[in-house]
Symmetry: D2
Subunit: 353 residues, 4 copies
């Protein structure tokens, strides 16, 4: 793993900037024989793309996936699967005004410090458009995991101060916030639309659940399943924290309340979030993570230009006032990539001769 | 990275169980020419070892570090540095009673599911004794980073419901809780001692700060500095969540409050926690993580034996009622390992010809 | 490294089959600021492509490289560089006759055994067309290395029993065999044309030289420069052996003849081939490797079909009777990838604080 | 893989210098449940150790292996297996005379260039003593492979100009040269003893065979089985070349002779050396490699000191006049490590859901 390569066995290499000629991914290590065509990938890309509702930026790209290799007669061959999505709607002119300014909250400043280059075209590699490669490869990982009986989904459980209390899985894909709580939805939606009107943005919390994960996945001591998932989700843009099971609430708990009792019928609770010692228990993996409010806002802010001189900035253009709804499929993709990889690593490392 | 190997350039491979003949680490990729002797490692091991106060288990091992290789005439040679700490105080007899039971909250169940083996000797590889290899190698990473001007420390900011409000760095190593808040200390101590008397345990939150980290470290898009740190700290025993800067509070924030403004004199706030786009800004890295209450408690709990039959269990023996004080040096070690690695990777990947 | 990923810091991920929609590569870890455009890559692809002379197959594809990402305003940005070459001349109909037969000397049999899939379209991933990704990324590595003063080239030193005795570097690219010996060229050419007429093929030996490599590159004990180069060149199709410096002749030498003496003016000989203990000496790296005769021949041979039944086969179609001339740029690419990677790794691992 | 870490799943990390306090290895990724105790490792170390006959240096160390972790009740647990061998016979005084001189043919010069450190104690990390970690871990890999039916052995097929013509496997361990040719043995022995008397040394060729390797191992396109084996064997001290099957002789062959025909009963020849397209065929893997003559000789040679001033040097002390006999178990170990790793990787990457 390094830079834009992720995973050990089910290994991806993503590429592409917001304003280059395309973005995509190469998947190396996907087993042979899995049914795959472009529609599997396209389905997830549609869930990620902008312009799905008035809650998100209207950048209306097709984001059409092309499989370049690794599939023959509708099945994976075991060789690298390359997926390309062309960039069609560059409009780099939109960004000219802030060409020499570092947008607060964005990676402009740090990319410049790191690489000595100011790719001012909409964030370059730091653009959320980079996540297309993740979602495309995650779609393949999901397909692989479906064969193992693993079911992964995510949903928005908090927007600003509004928290979801109810859970109706079927509702998630029926509302543009992607919450599972029909009552919380209008409140969440209003918060987002209000922020939009103010030229501001709002943060959120997403929960990811993986059901059907076999017990025994995760490689101590460093490659715990939860450690890998935390790594994966923290590598997504705008994520500032992650927790499992009881999470931060565990600080206030006693061991007598925290420990999940075991019975012949299974565990009696899931404070652990699906792992013990970093190895899956067979219970659901439950992970939550926080997405900061979108950095691109119309509220004026202090910054400096590339010469270090003071300036004021507002970030015009098309931006989601809340990143969470479109981060849902990205989180699912990252979880799928990790679980697929850990399943394959376990297959390699377990068993004797 | 896989299993017990961690890091890409500054790479460690740890080994050892609680009741084998020794634990330790091999460090590959530490640059040559760094001053090092056993006292550097021993200093950190002393901070980690049990029996430092009545808050922790009295298991009074010497935990004496021996450098087996990689150091010549007081300096690192660039070749692998192996460190061995012998296990002296096995007392595996203590564990006989629960030989065939899975302790709730422990990794007994999952190790058995994964490996098909029941190493009942005090947790085997899942014992916290495993962290000696982390601390020993972290001491070397800290020494390397000191030469770059990086200063890493951690402290306990919450025990149960008691939160630290004040910060006095010099106080951290003067109290057995390792909090920086002199007023909170007695309350935290009382919570821990009360839990101990009840045969119970209590959770906590630790904050890690790294100052002096140069801007530009972190490798997008996956190997963000914060993603690697999250990975590292989530790989520690008993950690259930991690956050950076504003963390989970960012869910309730507006972008206009979250974005750290930039001036010619620097950033005006640090909600980002020291990274933007996963690359260090030059500000302090600020990370917090939660440690669950110790799983070993005297309160009776339901469990099953390796045949799947129901049983009741209490975990006798020597256990810290709160893991946080001794987790402080482990967290510092993990942070040091990540930052050293990212500094070396950046050195490799940056710059042109 | 695994499967189709190669390198640690300067890391490539190649993809594509002979009869899919495209082949290419993603380069992750190339430093920022290197001048690069498609012509740099195209130049090397032209040297690799079929149809350059009557010595090679007339498959006359354009093999036009498109850079999809990682380059901005003519320079690398430090982010992944993706290169795509479309397949235009599929003609998979040519292969229908041998659809269910395993061609002797080819990877048909082993791919089927490994993946359970028979991709009969011209070798699939095992086709030499796969090397386009190597050559494209090698062109970038060469460009990077040129900035360090490293100069890499290869030439054919043996075809069948004809060995080159003279060396004129400027002659290499002036003859279709790519030998540096003007006298040997017509003999080599005749051997190849004779084999072609017979429907047969012939083997060869190539020498690769890298000049200007700084002393100190290579990471003991496993990642010796020569070990990595051997790995790289043995990963090319049809290579059956590799040697450095004195090579296999060292078996018959005494230490008193083998040891390269050192003087204040430098080494007096180069039996070592440019490394000692796997670390570069600053002398030229000298590597030779053997390419087996092309497996696709018109001479009838025994084989079996996918049911295991006996059959006889001839391999019609377009094939180079000698693979060496087109393997020259591939070998240069692989050497460049290794040396660039080792230079970057050394940069990371060397130096103290 | 990097530096002293080798392998992807069956991954080793070796450590130790000739004159430090110990050498050894940590194995991460060995499956659980394999029978293992110290005698398995000790057996191979005895084959590697000096002083087995008058053909080798009399350095008579015990080289006693201690397993520090990863084994419980006689079986591997799936956790890291650490093996330590103490250095007992330092005699670093022997090396004082050449403290500031670079020994020709040795890695003294390049280590100094790389690390800026002159560890004059018998080669430091570049000493052949480093191979103990390889042999110890290779013994575990062999044990794992035995369970898969894989049988690995090596033997000396050439010393100086004397080549073996006959093959009697049972004879290999009955003669100190480790040749399988009883007739060639006395000639080989005489060459070595003559070189010893002259204070000189002699080169050799070793053949490694692996039988019973299942078809399908090896990961195209880079991690071909033969590429990994070449990498492994070229990482051994003093190796200058490696070939498979027909090897360099393939340069003079026609395709019609080279291609191994396939019949329902199997392949009719093994010019490929056991792989096609880098994937095992199920035939024996046949690899040969050349070992240069020992660099430590009594014949005076020109060199420079660390100031760059001219000097003359002879290398006294205890040295094998031919490295090959003791390199046999090292080669077997490296082959076993590669094949075990490739078997586990294949297990991970193959198969569908």
């Amino acid at each position: 793993m390094s830079g834009s390569v992720f995973g050990e066995i089910f290994r991806i290499s993503t590429f592409g900037e917001s304003h280059g000629s395309g973005v995509g991914v190469v998947i190396d290590g996907c087993p042979a024989g899995i049914e795959l065509d472009e529609s599997v990938i396209q389905y997830e890309l549609e869930r990620r793309r902008p312009g799905q509702s008035e809650l998100s930026t209207p950048r209306d790209e097709e984001d059409r996936a092309e499989i370049l290799s690794g599939v023959f007669e509708g099945r994976t061959t075991g060789t690298p699967i390359a997926v390309l999505v062309r960039n069609k709607n560059h409009k780099s002119g939109d960004y000219g005004a802030i060409k020499n300014l570092f947008r607060p909250g964005h990676a402009d400043y740090t990319y410049y410090k790191k690489y000595g280059i100011r790719d001012y075209r909409g964030g370059g590699r730091a653009s959320a458009r980079e996540t297309i490669g993740r979602v495309a490869s995650g779609a393949v990982a999901k397909r692989f995991l479906a064969g193992l009986g693993v079911d992964i989904f995510a949903h928005v459980i908090q927007v600003g101060d509004v928290k979801a209390d109810n859970f109706d899985r079927s509702y998630i894909e029926q509302n543009p916030v992607r919450t599972a709580d029909e009552k919380a939805f209008p409140l969440m939606e209003r918060l987002i639309m209000d922020a939009k009107k103010e030229g501001d943005s709002v943060g959120a919390v997403i929960e990811m659940r993986a059901a059907g994960v076999p017990a025994g996945l995760g490689e101590p001591v460093f490659d715990r399943m939860n450690a890998r998932l935390a790594y994966a989700v923290m590598s997504m843009p705008a994520v500032k924290g992650v927790e499992f099971g009881a999470g931060f609430a565990a600080a206030s708990m006693k061991g007598s309340a925290m420990n999940d009792e075991i019975t012949p019928g299974g565990f009696l609770s899931n404070n652990s979030g699906g792992t013990l010692g970093g190895i899956t228990t067979g219970q659901d993996i439950v992970m939550r993570f926080v997405i900061k409010p979108t950095s691109s806002i119309l509220v004026p802010k202090k910054t400096v230009n590339i010469k270090g001189e003071p300036a004021e900035i507002v970030t015009k253009g098309r931006h989601d006032p809340c990143l969470a709804p479109r981060a849902v499929p990205v989180a699912e993709a990252m979880a799928a990539l990790v679980i697929a990889d850990m399943a394959l690593i376990h297959r390699a490392r377990s068993g004797g001769c």
